[in-house]
Symmetry: C3
Subunit: 667 residues, 3 copies
């Protein structure tokens, strides 16, 4: 990653030594060494401690901690600490406090309780960032700047409203244009003056009942959050131009368009807190999204939990080996770090029961500590050889935040619309077969892929249809689904049949779409061999033009009508799935499509074993992860295989215990 | 219906041509002709377009549309467009914005976001109505005025509060009387000054914890909504005295007392959006309620969906034939129209995925368009012969909004109290046997009925008990249930045993009422033949005086005690159901009661086939509707039967395909 | 109880004669006599009636009622009527209206809608109390003062906020100390000035995300509610020093620390409204809590329902004998009264369908009335012999409000944390075996107990660990559980392993705690006999020091690790349950622990029969309650047994019908 100072994967994470005494901190250093910890992030939430009154700064306590860290050769990601302004500041400058979706002004309390558009907030944040940068610019352990924390505040204050009006005026120029794009004729919303437009909230129900406006508001929040980031980043870059600047992304990624936000960051860093009920594919998808944010560049896993969390409904312990498995899964998908919240458990507060490498017990005599000793030793042994290694994928899955927002703002056809789960459904089929996938922007070039999947590409952005069409013309394989090609960028529906400008490439149009109750299913009957699969969620009634039927519905009044089709187009072909198939169908379908397109798994292994590869000037590294709770054997292809972190393969076979991992190279 | 200009059922509905260009509108006219569309309603939500600034009107665009419509001989229901005031008006006159139940002032957004008591709203609405009336009074296609849209706004602003106090003073005269009627001794609510009374809201919890006050508030809302309607209607009637004026009623009918509201309307018009999970009886009941609003006069189905909706949780396509079946069900129950939201699908906004006769695809090559072509042709062929035909019913089911509100405001005996579902439960038993039913006001004369059912007649209004008693004395059959005769008009309980003044006619009193958990049941064991039925919900413990036991409870500590009784009274009899019987019981019971009372089905047919009749000077029309998804055969009574819309009966037998309909006459 | 004027258990309850005319009241007196009613409480909610305008009092109507009552020798608990201030007062002094947790000011409405910190409220309440005390100090029937009603209002107004700051300053002295105790380093909440601290609300999310602050706020509410009670009590005690003063405690006991609140009350009185789904143990536990509030003193059951309620979701009738059974259960656990809401059913208002001894029917010819005739006759016959008799228990179960609040404020390890249900789980095992239990404060002396159970003793208050340790050293048997010894009084976690200062006495520490999903279970396998029990909820992973393993987990990665242990310590032993065992385990375990500790059931009876005893100078009284719906036989120990209220035992055997009760003495 940009600015990496040591030839090792970063290992460590959030550290809050301001909560305890020096003896404890010194003890921590011993523990860190045992675990080969080389990186900590701090002080994420110490603004109140750093600036006890306006313009008066108190850095002595931080100096001392930083000294101890550097004595111990622990590298530091310095946080600007601007995610929680001091109580006195909220009181002195009420404009900083955000207004919630019900139009009620917040009072000082939680973190991330500030209006990103508050000039005063930005002024004070920049001032703090400047102080920190000036004070620590020559600190030898400084490896990165961490700005704020998990940006996500949606404010509905008057100041935001005013800025939103300016934003709209800039975007649309005239109210006539806005009226047209927002289709204000519907329900009598014609606008004559930008200054009468109100932010969408629960007070006017526009947040739920005026999708075009709400969509623009969400874009506005990303735009102004970006400004807010740049406000601090600009100061930091001026003073320490060589130090990378970023902000960590919440695992709940929906709220802000991260493609946009991270374009200004030097590093992508995200917080990975899977639910104990997630399967392996779901965090894998998020890792691939993160790698996709900067077109394949390696990224940072900025937070994970070493053990249980506190804010899940039921906080399960990480099973033995589970933390290590998740650490390698991140690296396997492109991360150059494995970082944790937190090094030592907090003595109090909301997250006092969140797991840590060093628990309240304060001892290294715990199962978790021993697991981190092992993991740290392994990562230390791996050294820098994997850094910046890249993943080569023949398959791209299209992904887009505007599409996400617009799709879920829709009223109809079903209330269960969840874009991320839909994308995950299609992603999972590739993941299970260990076919490498890139997550790709709607605006990206597709030339490098053999197969492109576009799940629920509801919104047709300018150039999107042309790019997909050209991709197929040139020999690519495209897979599209229901809910494709319905609306333009401001959520106006395509006049003329769906999928609009993609009608030709798919060779069909969609007459109507039936929504199924959650307990309902239909069937897909394949023409070729009469195999029957289950399908659910939505059922398009398709009108074929040039497309050929591959599968038909098995029941309901549209039984016998096509639901899976293919269209030969140019040198390529475009598949269309008119309904949500079950996993068995997708297993068959993905296998078939990839075979045809000459796309192959990284390695052939049993189900439940994940394999990825990364490649750089040091070679190609295979990550083999046994997600099963039982031991598995992998038969390796011909070659001289070496495991960089554990037991070596014998006779071409690798034994992996439950949740065990291997990092292989073949010479 | 009043003011009907053509001798045809109105066929068409909401049209929003302001969303697209003239070419599209011209294309629509072709499509309309193909479907025999003869009626559109517009512009329902165009105030902002019509009055861009205060007192400045812009009708040119509407003139043009109306011209095109009249060129094509499409009749027009002109909407006054007052359901969504312009944004500039909300900003200029904040008093227009309503205050919600939490005491928070709304901001401009959704439709129906205005205070019906705002003088400024009324002034501006009347001004617009006047402009429209003056401009279009001589428009030849004008057949009705549609005021506002689905009135339903409950406002809690200071102005409403002041008006509520005046309303209360007028109703009760003195605080002493109010204290008595509201029983303010309970929980220390004694009022000394009308000016201290506050609207019931979530801020004072009076909306949930002060039933008598909340009940009066709901009456006040109906009263002032009525004023608000009359405000516009008065202007319209002054200028176009011959044109009927109405406002369409939401299918969620609970909020306003429609008996009262429609007394000032020339036509009853309602919006019929059944859930895909409703059985045939539920919309049938609502149709019968609508016919009952004006004592049997034919009414208007003002909106239905031609296909899927967007705002159901899961929006299913209308099955083939389903839209036609629902259209005829409306006509079968007394409607003289079949109107739809909407003619053409909106390009954007909240309801952009709501079904339409012309979908986004913009083609007549769709299943739905073809169904409307067929339906339009049939209705055109039927012509005017059915207009104003009336339904003759021997059974009346009593229904009342005050009763509804008061019953559901009750705390206890069960939280699952749902008056409409209760009424539907009893209605369904008649509907399944095709026994015609009128829905009757609590204040109506009952002389014309042989059987009167009074489900959960909780509130005893003045004269109510007397009317029921006289009805039975004169030979009528009365069926009453649990939750009868508990309270007076201001929700004060009957002192002395329930059912209060109906004790004599039922010949019993209710000692106590047990509530069952949803998973619990008891049994009804019939004395006569020991047949056993299931019952649930509530179980009255009855103390018989003159009544005779027909059935007893099968279990619990009141096993063996009476739960179904009959009382011979005068020339008639009164049945009492002390518990909610299952459908099997009601099938038996309704059959028995009707047989005894010489009440018979319209026609004898298989289950799942609905039959109604309407009669006028052109004869008697039988509507036979097959709600099954399979073909059915009906054996017709002796006579020469003719089907006015489809295949003719042969050898006295009529074949109806799945969801098919016949309109029969017998010569 | 203190100030008891008659040698009988108080029998009667809330009476609201201001709702009806004198004839009805006179009729009530007849009914009261039939039932031996000797006590009524009134007027609980009549402030508005008593003080129609500021400083103007109207007592005449009350004089008249009191006269009638005394004519009939009904004793009176006079309520100060301050739970619902008049509407004019809320309007005149808006400061009285509380602000809710969303920061929204309430408007006049419900009872208990006043800020306990309002000086104006306190002034007016004291003035009313003074007027009442002066007027009725010589009223011969006066037996107690009832202040307000079910205190429970949490206000978030500015005045409360100011008082909270003063309270914090008094508690912590300096912001440094507060910062340390609240661990404000977490999430950047450092406080520099008490005057910037805001009340925790939904506006700042501190009510959910800042446990230490919220915990102090809840303590502050108890403190200031105590002040509010003392405000009136002081006036009353000055004028009528011999009359006991109390306020009735809601059965929802969580909101206020009742150990603290009742220390200023002369009597503990509580309102017992079990859900129809509660088993016998749950109200028994609450009774024992009430007895524990004043270290075993007899208390008052101030309210129960004679029949159905209205505010349960489903309001079931009390089964025959059920009201009597519940009445005796209260007395059996230490109550010297059986009081009811209400004597006669209200004519209107929120609770008009709540059961009463005299229902709306107004007759004595009801099942319920007859049950109260029987009960009244029995209690009259029992006379005063049981008064002030005490329960002797060898088992103490520790219980604490701070612990309750802090435990449930925790984020993690599971969202299903419910302290009362947890305590009930352990209590139930003793209750089922009829082993007498005291509920004991965390600060109480434990010397008198043989066994002490400390369920989820999360919070270690000063001296707590020392007391428990000494108890075991001296030969006591201690039972502890998961979630023990995690935090100090301000919710800071124990640094060093849990259970902190209790580590030695239990001979172990807790490495980590796994949360189970509701549908998950693990097993306890007992070392001794390989018996297998089920466990769930949480699973500690224990590290034994001196403790011995009694049982181990049956599954998951910690299968085979200890989950039930015992530690010999001094002369006693300490058991630790690392997981929530099922009822079967607790039956075995409680039996074993009690046998070892020489603790025995009151009587040996079949399951479902509850037995308690109370003892005073008149002897020892055994209460035998058959909670079964079937007849049961009890074999009595040797001796001459007499049943004071029903059929006598024969041949050493007592027959109890379904829900029947005996009060036995052995001579």
């Amino acid at each position: 990653m940009k600015g990496q100072k040591i030839k090792e994967l970063y290992f460590g994470g959030d550290y809050n030594p301001d909560q305890w005494d020096e003896a404890t901190i010194r003890k921590d250093m011993e523990y860190f060494k045992k675990c080969h910890i080389n990186y900590v992030a701090l002080p994420v939430f110490s603004w109140a401690k750093l600036e006890p009154e306006e313009g008066v700064y108190n850095f002595e306590w931080l100096d001392k901690i930083l000294d101890i860290l550097w004595e111990n050769k622990i590298y530091v990601c310095l946080a600007t600490s601007t995610a929680a302004q001091p109580e006195w500041m909220s009181k002195k400058y009420p404009e900083i406090m955000p207004v919630d979706n019900n139009g009620l002004k917040r009072t000082h309390g939680m973190r991330n309780f500030y209006c990103v558009n508050s000039e005063k907030y930005r002024e004070r944040a920049a001032a703090l960032a400047e102080q920190m940068a000036l004070r620590y610019k020559d600190y030898p352990g400084l490896v990165a700047w961490h700005v704020a924390n998990e940006y996500s505040t949606f404010c509905h204050c008057e100041n935001c409203e005013k800025k939103f009006r300016v934003w709209l005026k800039k975007k649309y120029g005239t109210t006539e244009e806005l009226n047209k794009r927002w289709n204000t004729s519907f329900w009598g919303r014609t606008v004559y003056d930008f200054d009468t437009i109100m932010l969408p909230t629960e007070r006017n129900d526009d947040d739920r009942f005026f999708p075009a406006k709400q969509l623009d508001y969400q874009r506005f929040v990303t735009d102004t959050t970006e400004e807010c980031f740049l406000n601090e980043a600009g100061v930091l870059r001026r003073i320490t131009p060589d130090i990378p600047v970023f902000s960590n992304i919440s695992g709940f990624i929906k709220k802000l368009n991260q493609f946009q936000l991270t374009r200004n960051m030097d590093i992508v860093g995200w917080d990975n807190y899977p639910s104990p009920k997630d399967d392996a594919a779901f965090p894998a998808l998020k890792h691939d999204i993160m790698r996709g944010l900067k077109d394949g560049a390696s990224y940072m896993v900025a937070e994970q939990s070493p053990n249980q969390q506190n804010w899940q409904p039921y906080n399960k312990l990480k099973r033995p080996g589970e933390a290590r498995l998740l650490a390698y899964q991140g690296i396997a998908h492109g991360a150059d770090s494995s970082l944790y919240f937190q090094m030592r458990q907090s003595v109090g507060g909301q997250e006092k029961f969140h797991g840590a490498i060093i628990s309240h017990a304060g001892t290294d005599d715990t199962r978790i500590f021993r697991e981190f000793e092992q993991l740290g030793a392994e990562l230390h042994q791996l050294g820098g050889q994997i850094l910046d290694a890249r993943t080569n994928a023949d398959v791209g899955i299209l992904f887009d935040w505007d599409n996400w927002w617009a799709l879920e703002l829709c009223s109809g056809p079903t209330k269960d619309m969840d874009y991320l789960l839909q994308v995950a459904h299609y992603y999972r089929a590739f993941h299970k077969q260990n076919i490498a996938v890139d997550i790709v922007k709607f605006t990206s070039d597709l030339d490098s892929y053999k197969v492109v999947v576009a799940p629920l590409a509801y919104m047709v952005k300018p150039g999107f249809a042309e790019r997909l069409t050209k991709f197929v013309e040139n020999g690519g394989t495209l897979v599209g689904t229901y809910m494709t090609g319905l609306a333009d960028e401001t959520d106006r529906c395509i006049f003329g049949a769906y999928p609009g400008p993609l009608r030709n490439v798919f060779g069909l149009w969609v007459e109507e779409t039936d929504a199924l109750y959650p307990e309902e299913t239909n069937q897909i009957i394949m023409n070729e061999n009469r195999e029957v699969y289950s399908c659910s969620f939505l059922c398009d009634r398709l009108r074929l033009e040039n497309a050929k039927t591959l599968g038909t519905y098995g029941s309901d009044f549209y039984a016998g009508e096509p639901c899976v089709t293919v269209n030969e187009y140019g040198k390529g072909k475009a598949y269309y799935l008119g309904t949500q198939p079950d996993e068995a169908f997708l297993k068959m379908f993905v296998h078939k499509v990839c075979e045809e397109a000459d796309v192959h798994p990284v390695l052939q292994v049993e189900e439940g074993i994940e394999v990825t590869s990364r490649e750089n000037e040091n070679g190609k590294f295979y990550f083999v992860m046994n997600h099963n709770a039982t031991e598995k054997q992998i038969v390796l292809p011909e070659g001289k295989w070496e495991n960089l972190i554990g037991a070596q393969p014998e006779n071409g076979k690798l034994i992996l215990k439950a949740r065990d991992v291997a990092v292989l190279k073949c010479q």
